[in-house]
Symmetry: C2
Subunit: 208 residues, 2 copies
């Protein structure tokens, strides 16, 4: 059966979202996977904006339930951290024991971005915690984002890919996405080897 990958990320908010989703779908195919992209389905109109939003929430959760894996685009979105919708979806897939991978298109890590957010005005408290002028502590864990996100992926053996995209391709550069696909393909080959099957039997492009 072909592995189905849910493509989580803030590119759904782009004017050319469908084009980016099509490119992600094509890349998934190249590695023998199927893509399940939020925004692929047309959501019927609803009586209120709230009802419409709830309908999208249901469709996206259904898509995740039917997927075997997620690749989460954790590139910072409207601020220093990942898109919260993507963070929700990554947590949702981690809880289901699905295969997980993540990428970011900026090279500054979570700590460096938080430091920049505070303009470098950091102090260290008596307990050794680094804090901003607002008293909030900074995570300094050599991670691309909050430890639940980065840790959730890395602890499950998933790839965490960092790639520097051009400013005008922050959400469209798919280098990191493709690296995640390669890592997933490799992970599946290893798993099948562990199960005593020949890796070539598992070439995803030939198995359905």
């Amino acid at each position: 059966m072909t592995l189905k990958i849910y493509t989580a990320g803030p590119e759904v908010f782009l004017a050319n979202a469908r084009e980016v989703m099509a490119a992600k779908t094509a890349l998934c195919r190249k590695y023998g996977f199927d893509a399940i992209c939020p925004g692929d389905l047309d959501i019927p109109p609803a009586e209120t904006m709230k009802a419409f939003g709830l309908a999208i929430s249901r469709v996206d959760e259904d898509m995740m339930d039917s997927a075997d894996a997620v690749i989460a685009n954790l590139t910072p979105f409207r601020g220093l951290a990942a898109d919260v919708g993507t963070a929700f979806e990554l947590g949702y897939m981690c809880a289901q024991g699905k295969l997980v991978a993540a990428y970011t298109n900026v090279t500054e890590d979570h700590y460096q971005r938080t430091l920049a957010y505070y303009g470098g005005q950091i102090s260290t408290d008596a307990g050794g915690y680094k804090r901003g002028p607002d008293g909030l502590s900074l995570e300094d864990f050599d991670m691309i984002d909050n430890l639940m996100l980065h840790g959730g992926v890395e602890r499950r053996g998933g790839a965490v890919v960092v790639h520097k995209a051009a400013d005008d391709a922050l959400y469209t550069d798919l280098t990191g996405f493709e690296a995640c696909l390669k890592a997933l393909a490799e992970q599946i080959r290893h798993q099948s080897r562990d199960e005593g099957r020949r890796p070539e039997d598992l070439d995803a492009s030939n198995d359905d």
Copy 2:
């Protein structure tokens, strides 16, 4: 058995995090619930910051796995959206079919905050989507945050509580948290009624 509630929120970053967690724990007790708070356990030192972060990720996931419900503090954190760690945790608990509730301590909804982020410089494209100067579309769904978060809670029958906290109590005001506790208690009473049991048998404070 006493319902165990995982208390997700950015208050873990406060200098007085333990004090806030103790107050949340006391409120949970008042409604007959047990609190499971991230940061409650001491994590042993690790060789690297990365390893320490991964250890916290594991402990927090274990705590969620052992909890029956989550109350997520979705108050905006270092920007216009909720804390991404909290978003991950909310998704994690939604996927497990746990009871969910959320609150925010600001009254501006997600759309209003995004509008402010763009300084009101919004245009409407040919497809009817509102977009910022960077071309990214704005969600306008009458929701407190990204539709996956708000929708994930509301679609499960969970409370979404909005309360205006004072500026200096943005992460410590527990009015919304207590409203979520009341809603959870009510939800449990209804569920038990649906199951044909007398609600008074289910008074959480008497059932273990």
